[in-house]
Symmetry: D2
Subunit: 359 residues, 4 copies
């Protein structure tokens, strides 16, 4: 495949770093630009992520690739998006609102920010779940007069739930969903994110705006494209989002009422088989399965299962009949909030769009 | 009030220690016997909880009272229950099954073990919630030919949920309940309980038998005494019980569908006012409120709220309309699993039974 | 005793809150002024510590006293220190450098900030350790033309070590000290302090400036007042200061070479007996012992021992002969960094100064 | 190279699992036997590590290789050691004392157990540190009439310290050592190891027998082979070993007095260059460096540095002059207690012995 030249904008932040960690050695995506705020511009990337006191601010477990360390960081505010085939935007929501439309005038933007997630002509992709929403990109380009487009990935908490509800919705219809999340600290970033004194020996039962995002995004992602727009899925989603003393990996207890009765075996089967067509594309960042269903009653656990299949699989366990909901099933899932739920998920979306000729 | 002489059986274990911590300085309950397994019998209590290596095995935050330290531990297997007015049993379920009926032949037994919780003629009390079930004790005595009786407190996870559902059930009727618990490690005890390597940076999504207990106990506790037996509450309870890296204090995300619509203000009001009659008894271990409802959106948190009102109040927060359930409300609660949820709750039950002339 | 009117400056911060928690119900110290930055000025204290989102920013385990909640916060920059008998300053070092001399023109200042710790005419008190340095306050007043004075308490890490070295130095002479600290997160405050993602499942082996402070302060505190100035103790102190996933309570492994040989029994004895004269003053915030020496080989532990005697005692354990140092002894200590090591320690210093007629 | 057939004895335990994780895909070491206690014998390995409740007891982060999962576990008590070229023994000390001599009659044994570490004719190898002690193996064989031999790896806490002291001792002479360890929970195993309730928000300041092991093993490993026996290094080692809430990776604060003065640059240089000759052998499990010296003042950190170079490098940071010790230097190190400090270290020792013709 021809090389795809990309810029990572917001490259020094945590989400940006995860793009670098994930793209090192990629078969055909080549980072040609690293961009960040004016403060970092002009420095090498290695300098830009070193504090005055000499402390490394590289926070990924994977080592920083030497070729990226030596690159000079550009100013995100002035960077010429036309110089690349694709922009991975990993900036805060406010910056995204301003920067992404500028980039999109010339260039496709795959973003981890929420700024444009809720606009009518903007699809939110989860790999293998709603790729047919890609048709909306042409509408977006027409509406806005852009050569490129913006497509954000969902909130990291939406990802695992929507991924697992999709096969249920297809096969049995989802009528109602209740979900409690036990979210990792990395989801909150480092500015300052979750303070150590707040989370040691504790649970924080509220993450501002998270529950609304989860409901809205899930309905949109599982919605149908009709007449050039997405008709959201009709089922209500009631979420309680909490933060727990876990580094990476969101755990979610999901309770779903189905339109049509389904045995646990049938549920496990549609989950296990989900995404075959998408996986058959052989995209380089794709896992072997989108959903893994375990029979071990003590799994999934965030620390033990978050890295399954490179952090790209959603692991489901504790599949049980729900006694309180009509045609109810319940389960626990773990997905990696900073891999499939952020940068690596965005890269897989980009790979798909490229294969489809949209990059 | 006359002094009530009690034995704490299982006194060296974690639950037993909590009885000692809670009874030190009690106005009218006096520990006259400490009993434990044959291994501890004959030693002073201080010796019995000191390891061979000289390490203290006293695990309560409260210091061990000197008068208890000096008492000689009796053998639970041979201890004469008739020598006390009441037995607090804090032993494992298997031991409880064997020991408690023997004690109950002569003496009331308030127990933290689950052994007899599910028997028809055995009430499970939560202070202020179902004290009218006390009538069942006479039935139990008649059935079994005992002068005493057995009454266990519920599972620590049942406690907070049943406490908060009770005013909802009374006022609006509860139709369906979904609940996810984030439980503290102390609930698992120390033999070995939760292993450090399993819980650091992790969540364990399964606690054997816990979900079944929660459903069954909640229905029984909120059931009605009719014709000499308890008719369980009809609403189904769907629980997912998980363990998180928290020392004490269970957090529960509760979602309830009500029979009749209720505003959030009405829900908060019935919770805040719940238990006035019970609290008016002025029992020494009772808190000022059974339920506290906070408006702080980031509360309740287990570390910050577990010790509220001596660990005897259930703190509710994040009260919201539930979009997925009919007449739905949802909230988060924190209750102290080893205080109201175990020994101190059992003591409060005993205080009530004594006041009512049943001890 | 007559009431002493005090201001707590920096009252909304963590250290300031600890003053409020510790002074509630004090027999003769009465807070008449709460002062903080201009942002908080004019609000009630309760408002000042509530976030826009309605979240309580009160972080002490002890509840906030109602009388403080209702007080109107003054602006620290304009507050008239002459209106109180004493100022407790709990501000950051930069603010302290500016504000404290202004307060000291009229009023004694007991401070938790490091700004003036290293000035020649400024004593750093540890209760019971070096109260004879109080003579230096007159020198300070003369030097600077102040009616009041500034006296900071030491760094929280210095406290436990200097406290335990003092009886050794008096009895046997200290020649060399090596110390590794395992410090609690609360020592770093909340702005943002230690980030959750940095400390879960981790140790941070560096706390900027801490090791230098510990060496310098220990030598000064254990120094002798000669000719109107403090001659620092001569023994070198080599420290490695680390941060561990602990909320409160600093643990320190201390290795000391003594001038004269001492048996472990002698060492334990001088520690246990240390401070009798000071404790005989009966100051209200004083513990029953300055140092507790435990024989339990697994103690002291920060979580289990930090609250001993109200967080005001230093608990020493694992007393052993040191095989590597001449006349070497080694031990582990735990002291409460935000109680004796900060606000409550400062209050005890103030009580002493008041008793001595210096307030 | 010819294939070396090995048995892993104690294969179901944590240390045994680490051998399996490390040997999967090894170029020339082939596991032909998995042995464990009678309870596991006859089951497939996959069955043997699955609990009755269906829970996987495989605790390594690396997945279990399919070929091992399918192997039938043999009974360690009856397994014929002569059927393999080498035994990796990963059993508890009591079992080791009994089993290892039986295996050694025919076959070399590289062990993680401490049972034989302190016998005169038994060398304790740290890769690259004291391989010349291999001569002692012939003495051992002669003494005991064995065709094989026993060689244990050191305690996981000894490893990092002895590794870093070796270049200092060679270049400058070590005179005195003080060391405080902050050890990971995995070092205590799972039976039950460190209980969650004991380590959350806590430090345990005592690990039975650990400090003695560290002193004795360090002196032995850094000793000289003279006249057919090891003359231990003369310098005393004073250790305080503590447990902290960290999963893997031991952190050690080391303070060393040197015989001859050395600049920090010189110290860094001898550490960085240490082991070149050993590394030049190109053994498959060897890292690129034995010691990495970082200039980042906030490193090494156990979570961030334990996996450096496959968990086989010791990372040193915070190199400073020690003000308390003569010719003193101090530093902090992190080494992986279950990789270089256990199974992977043992494998590297075996690779060396094989290359030298001793397997």
């Amino acid at each position: 495949m021809r090389k795809i030249k990309v810029a990572v904008v917001g490259a020094t932040g945590m989400a940006g770093q995860q793009f670098l960690a994930a793209l090192a050695g990629h078969p055909y995506i080549e980072i040609t630009t690293l961009a960040a705020s004016a403060r970092s511009a002009g420095k090498t990337y290695a300098q830009a992520i070193t504090s005055e006191a000499g402390a490394s601010q590289w926070f990924c477990a994977e080592p920083l690739a030497k070729e990226y360390a030596a690159m000079t960081v550009q100013d995100a505010a002035t960077f010429n998006a036309a110089s690349v085939d694709l922009v991975f935007a990993a900036v805060e929501s406010d910056a995204a609102r301003e920067l992404e439309p500028r980039f999109a005038q010339t260039t496709p933007v795959v973003s981890t920010a929420s700024a444009y997630r809720y606009e009518e002509d903007v699809p939110i992709f989860i790999p293998g779940v709603n790729m047919e929403h890609a048709e909306l990109l042409a509408t977006q380009q027409k509406n806005r007069g852009w050569k490129g487009y913006i497509t954000p990935v969902p909130n990291c908490t939406t990802m695992g739930m929507a991924m697992t509800l999709k096969p249920l919705h297809e096969a049995f219809g989802v009528r109602q969903v209740v979900m409690t999340s036990l979210q990792a600290c990395s989801g909150a970033g480092r500015s300052p994110g979750v303070i150590g004194m707040d989370i040691i020996d504790n649970v924080i039962p509220y993450i501002p705006k998270e529950e609304e995002k989860v409901q809205k995004e899930t309905q949109k992602i599982l919605g149908k494209l009709q007449g050039g727009r997405i008709v959201p899925a009709a089922f209500p989603v009631s979420a309680t989002c909490t933060r727990v003393p876990v580094l990476d990996g969101h755990t979610e207890a999901v309770y779903a009422s189905l339109e049509r009765p389904a045995s646990l075996d049938e549920v496990a089967k549609v989950m296990r088989e989900f995404g075959r067509e998408f996986l058959a594309l052989g995209l380089p960042s794709a896992p072997a399965h989108l959903i893994d269903v375990t029979n071990d009653p003590f799994r999934p656990q965030p620390r033990r299962d978050r890295e399954n299949e490179g952090g790209m699989v959603t692991t489901v366990g504790r599949l049980r009949v729900d006694p309180a909901l009509a045609n109810g099933v319940k389960y626990v899932l773990v997905s990696h909030n900073t891999k499939m739920g952020a940068a690596k998920g965005a890269i897989l979306v980009a790979e798909y769009l490229a294969q489809r000729g949209l990059v």
